[in-house]
């Protein structure tokens, strides 16, 4: 029989306000096995923990029940206390009488009654607890960063800086991501390329970093410290190790009419291309959908002009298998499609563009060499209308928009409006807004400067419709403050499109068993206290894959994710979770049900020799759990038809004892 101590926490007035803690500790005194019961203001405080340690010594306790907050909060704290007092940490049970009791009840009587029942259940369970010892697993001292935008770049640089090898997997032919496409960055207006490209070069030159560009992750197996990852290196038909990036092939390529994705289709590139001048790696890539040689074998010009002999039309997709200790997701974002917003005439007029297209139009390396022109006729626009919240905060249009605020649009629209007025003082610039949200450092000052110094006309109200008429865009909008409808003949309209997570994020989350919210943003382990960790151990989050973010925020999160990875890789061994499944071989009938439901691939089958009662031996197929891979989810224990699977620390017998205690 266990000698159980019960410790009821007041949590200040959080619990004691709705639960009579004295009554709870009194009532639990009479439960089987309980030899000591008390209550205290803050059990998690040093004094509270000392109280537990002293009671263990004084009453020779073998089990501890703490009636307090959720085990997610302080189970680890009390397990450490138990270990310090010389008891196995898994002999501690938490009865959650805060989140599941005092916070949800208003009435003291009901609250107290329920707290007593929850306490009884915990006592019933701890009576059946057995000491558990976690296993150890080694840590592969290499990190994988998925995505090579500013988030991935910063994370990789910081990890590499600490001396650990890092691989970046980027699906585009170059790293750089969205930031490489931007013109200037708010609120200081430094040029994006000027601050990004040195970092890209640092990545390329860093001995600890390998770049897998034009590559994708196709399979992830394993667990924290020991991930086995398969990376598909797509055939670029150019030998990366030999190509010097001279660009001779690009000049000679006769296929010149391929829409240039880097400039969002506003100009053309060749079938063989280098995305932009500062690309890293600076290596050409052949687009197999456009190249004549690859499509029908007629051409081969690029191979003839390549002095290095780097062109290889026979190159195949390559699969690389590598082991990693930690994985950082930095898959980033994309603007949503504007096709379905008919009212803004995006599909009807070339002069209705998105903000990212505006970035390319004003970028010196863009399709118009930085000259702001109308895409339709190349003329200088005089009246420009910016529309904010296009598809953001759009609750009723789930099929085209997003419910959330995209966060970055207020600032980049202010930037666009300001830069336009600065460079072209003859333009009239309107910004239609619902709210202007500028809570960052020096952000509101920036927006006010656009209004006060640059004379941008901010109008509270939305644009209702845009109709192309002649070479003008008829903009009909409301000015809510003046309470009138505005009609503006605009030359150019810029839509601040909502942003969404990259489409590759969802299948990646499935591979990583990392959770996502309904908008496909990765979920963090705790929204405030663990913002860069995924709930899946060993998977970390960096940048806009976790939620809309601007560059300063992305860089700080990238650094934070790197710090967490470094903390993990610095360990030689990881303590596992001892609460894993185990199979009773004598009861297992080898049906494979458990292996089919296991989301982690932790269960395998082996043929084992058993001695039968009649002294013969028999070979039977039975399940075996790999404790290092098992995450203790319990799916197998409920699936097993013969009751052979059990979860250590949450055995069927323990759970039934809890149910019995509650129903008594």
């Amino acid at each position: 029989m266990q000698r159980v101590g019960v410790f009821v926490c007041w949590c200040g007035s959080n619990i004691a306000g709705t639960v009579d803690v004295q009554a709870v500790s009194e009532a639990l005194k009479n439960e089987p096995g309980v030899v000591f019961s008390t209550n205290y203001q803050y059990m998690c405080s040093q004094a509270g923990q000392d109280m537990i340690k002293n009671a263990v010594k004084e009453h020779r306790l073998t089990g501890i029940v703490v009636c307090s907050c959720s085990p997610r909060m302080h189970e680890a704290t009390f397990r450490k206390t138990a270990a310090a007092a010389g008891i196995n940490p898994y002999m501690v049970e938490i009865a959650n009488i805060r989140e599941q009791c005092s916070w949800v009840h208003k009435d003291m009587l009901t609250g107290t009654e329920k707290a007593i029942i929850l306490g009884k259940a915990a006592v019933a369970k701890v009576n059946l607890n057995t000491p558990l010892i976690p296993g150890e697993s080694p840590v592969t001292k290499r990190a994988l960063v998925i995505g090579g935008g500013i988030a991935g770049i910063q994370t990789a640089l910081d990890i590499a800086d600490a001396g650990f090898p890092v691989d970046i997997v980027e699906k585009q032919p170059t790293i750089g991501g969205k930031m490489a496409q931007l013109d200037k960055t708010f609120p200081t207006l430094d040029c994006a390329a000027c601050i990004l490209t040195p970092k890209m070069v640092d990545v390329a030159q860093n001995e600890n970093i390998r770049i897998f560009s034009y590559s994708e992750v196709t399979e992830v197996k394993g667990f924290v410290g020991n991930f086995d990852v398969t990376i598909k290196k797509k055939a670029r038909f150019v030998n990366e190790d030999i190509c010097t990036g001279c660009g001779a092939c690009v000049e000679k390529c006769p296929m010149k009419k391929v829409p240039n994705e880097f400039n969002l289709g506003m100009d053309n590139r060749h079938a063989i291309y280098i995305p932009f001048a500062q690309a890293v790696p600076k290596v050409a890539t052949i687009d197999p959908n456009a190249c004549n040689m690859l499509k029908n074998g007629k051409c081969g010009l690029c191979a003839r002009v390549c002095a290095a002999g780097a062109i290889d039309y026979k190159q195949k997709d390559q699969f690389i298998e590598e082991k990693y200790g930690a994985i950082v997701v930095a898959t980033g974002f994309n603007p949503i499609s504007m096709e379905k917003f008919d009212e803004y005439a995006y599909s009807q007029s070339k002069d209705v563009i998105t903000s990212l297209e505006f970035e390319r139009l004003t970028n010196a390396a863009g399709p118009s060499a930085g000259k702001l022109i109308r895409p339709s006729d190349g003329k200088h626009p005089h009246t420009i209308v910016f529309v904010q919240c296009v598809g953001s905060r759009c609750e009723s249009c789930a099929e085209k928009g997003k419910e959330y605020c995209s966060k970055i649009c207020c600032m980049y629209t202010a930037k666009h409006a300001m830069l336009t007025r600065d460079k072209y003082p003859d333009t009239e610039v309107y910004v239609f807004y619902i709210d202007v949200r500028t809570p960052g450092k020096n952000f509101d000052e920036f927006y006010r400067r656009a209004v006060e110094e640059y004379g941008v006309k901010y109008v509270k109200g939305m644009v209702g419709k845009i109709v192309p008429e002649g070479d003008k865009l008829k903009v009909q909008a409301s000015d809510l403050i003046a309470n009138r409808q505005l009609h503006i003949d605009a030359d150019l309209v810029v839509l601040a499109a909502a942003i969404e997570p990259d489409k590759s994020a969802r299948p990646l989350a499935t591979m990583l068993t990392a959770s996502m919210d309904t908008n496909d943003f990765f979920t963090e382990a705790h929204p405030k206290l663990r913002p860069v960790e995924s709930p899946t151990a060993g998977v970390f989050l960096s940048g806009a894959c976790q939620g809309p973010k601007d560059i300063p925020e992305t860089v700080s999160q990238a650094g934070a994710a790197a710090a967490k990875v470094i903390g993990l890789l610095a360990k030689d061994k990881l303590m596992g979770n001892p609460c894993v499944a185990q199979s009773d071989e004598l009861m297992c009938n080898g049906c494979s049900t458990c292996a089919n439901v296991c989301p982690y691939g932790a269960i395998s089958y082996e043929d084992k020799e058993f001695r039968m009662p009649d002294r013969t031996t028999k070979i039977r197929r039975v399940a075996a759990v790999n404790p290092a891979v098992c995450q203790g989810c319990g799916a197998c224990t409920v699936a097993c038809p013969s009751g052979a699977m059990d979860l250590k620390g949450f055995a069927n017998s323990q759970i039934m004892a809890e149910v019995d205690a509650i129903c008594k």
């Binding site: 009212e343 919240c389 905060r393 009723s396 419709k465 909008a477 409301s478 809510l480 309470n483």
Partner: protein
């Protein structure tokens, strides 16, 4: 300021619209083709009903100027459906006046090749209890 909670609740019940969802972006009024004809505009209908200021709406010709084209419903990013609010206010006004302004029997006389059917349907729902 007047605050007619009874009528507010009545309009919310009749229209099925929750005016508190409105985030005051003005897209409804930005898209409204009858804007210039109206004394009170779609976004004002929503906020005035929410504030219980319903008498001025009942006494304004704006309730008959709404074309029931439902552009505001289509474009509203929050699914507030301002045209339904206008319609509910209009129905209250018509019910107070005690009679239908148009009956089904009046319709055959109005049918001709140039009049779109939608117009008749809109007129019927506008002038009938």
């Amino acid at each position: 300021m007047e605050n007619n909670q009874y009528l507010r609740e009545e309009i919310i019940r009749m229209s099925g619209v929750n005016p508190t969802k409105c985030m005051k972006c003005g897209k409804c009024s930005g898209t409204c083709p009858a804007y210039d004809e109206m004394e009170y505009h779609p976004h004002q209908f929503v906020s005035m009903v929410d504030n219980g200021e319903i008498e001025p709406l009942l006494n304004s010709t704006s309730i008959y100027k709404c074309l029931s084209c439902f552009a505001c419903i289509e474009r509203c990013p929050r699914g507030v459906e301002p045209a339904k609010v206008v319609e509910a206010v209009r129905l209250i006004a018509i019910r107070r006046q005690g009679a239908n302004r148009m009956t089904a029997n009046d319709i055959p006389a109005m049918v001709d090749e140039d009049t779109p059917q939608q117009l008749l349907v809109s007129a019927f729902r506008k002038y009938t209890k």
